[in-house]
Symmetry: none
Subunit: 165 residues, 2 copies
DNA sequence: TGCCGTCCCATGCTATCCCAAGAATGCCCA
DNA sequence: TGGGCATTCTTGGGATAGCATGGGACGGCA
């Protein structure tokens, strides 16, 4: 599955075209549907989410899980699969941002691609800055550090592996 | 996984290139992606963090842990993976410091690499000195000693291994 | 027939690769 | 034990290829 990292800000031309960052393109090239990305409006932010075919397959499968309640399933089906737009890139690696999606995210002349491992997001650059600033404040307020989180996660994993049994 | 120790100060040329300290390079050579390091802005300092592929794999895994709440996960995905830049070294063992990262850390003509075992940091040399001075003061004030820390840690490990059950 | 979307071509910039030399270190031999 | 030699590391500059971006032309749909 493709891995998306880093942040890139690219321009949107008059036709609504944007270059997919080269790094993302390389990741996408290795998936089962190279040249095609799927876009949908984020559930939680005024931004777009993007992923490759393989990720959607996984998502689709997890919808079959009995652990989900009907509400959750309904929500995903309506807001993700219902809004999903497959977009194919041209020879230069550009895609056309569908109008309604660009509007939803408030994207004008520039679009910020931010990698989130298995998916990525597309933001209006200033909106992204604001979002990051808000998040950073939380980091400070809660005094979060990376090593702390790794420790917390691995402690939990150890417990599940038998030490707690 | 690579181990990084000691401190090195190297020059940054006009193109933003820096030599990775030879010692670090030797460590990196043994990892699953030799020649590639990952850089991102530190959560807690005006400095850059660096690691190898293997460390990131561990980090990535810990994000899957159910012990983390959604906030924390979102934060890490935005601030670490969203800012993460894979950098590959040239034949001479140099990397290019991405502009936005160099700016974030205030790095100009010189960069200080400081090993932190599984990761390393890159500082603007003067900022590092100031940081170290501040830390040293804390050591004195809190009367911290190495043997104390080792004792404390091993006492905790013993408790978790059954003495407390 | 007019408009919209897609494809193709062109260009400036940036990053990557390649080649080269000075400096510092460690080793070997006298 | 001291000096000389060789190797490694750091640093510098030029050439090349890739990428982001812009505009125009062709074809399809309404």
């Amino acid at each position: 599955m493709a891995v998306f990292l880093s942040t890139y800000v690219n321009k949107v031309d008059r036709k609504g075209r944007v270059s997919i960052p080269a790094q993302f393109r390389q990741s996408l090239a290795k998936t089962s549907a190279p040249g095609t990305v799927y876009l949908w409006p984020s559930l939680n932010h005024q931004a777009l989410e993007g992923a490759d075919q393989d990720y959607l397959d996984v998502l689709s499968e997890s919808l079959e899980s009995p652990d989900l309640d009907a509400d959750e399933r309904d929500m995903i089906e309506t807001f993700i699969f219902g809004k999903l737009i497959p977009v194919s890139s041209d020879a230069e690696g550009r895609i056309v941002l569908p109008k309604e999606l660009a509007e939803f995210a408030g994207i004008g002349e520039e679009a910020a691609f931010i990698g989130r491992r298995k998916t990525f997001q597309i933001w209006e650059p200033d909106a992204l800055k604001a979002h990051e600033a808000a998040l950073r404040e939380q980091v400070v307020r809660k005094d979060i550090s990376l090593s702390q989180i790794v420790a917390k996660a691995s402690r939990g994993a150890a417990a599940r592996n038998g030490e707690g049994a």
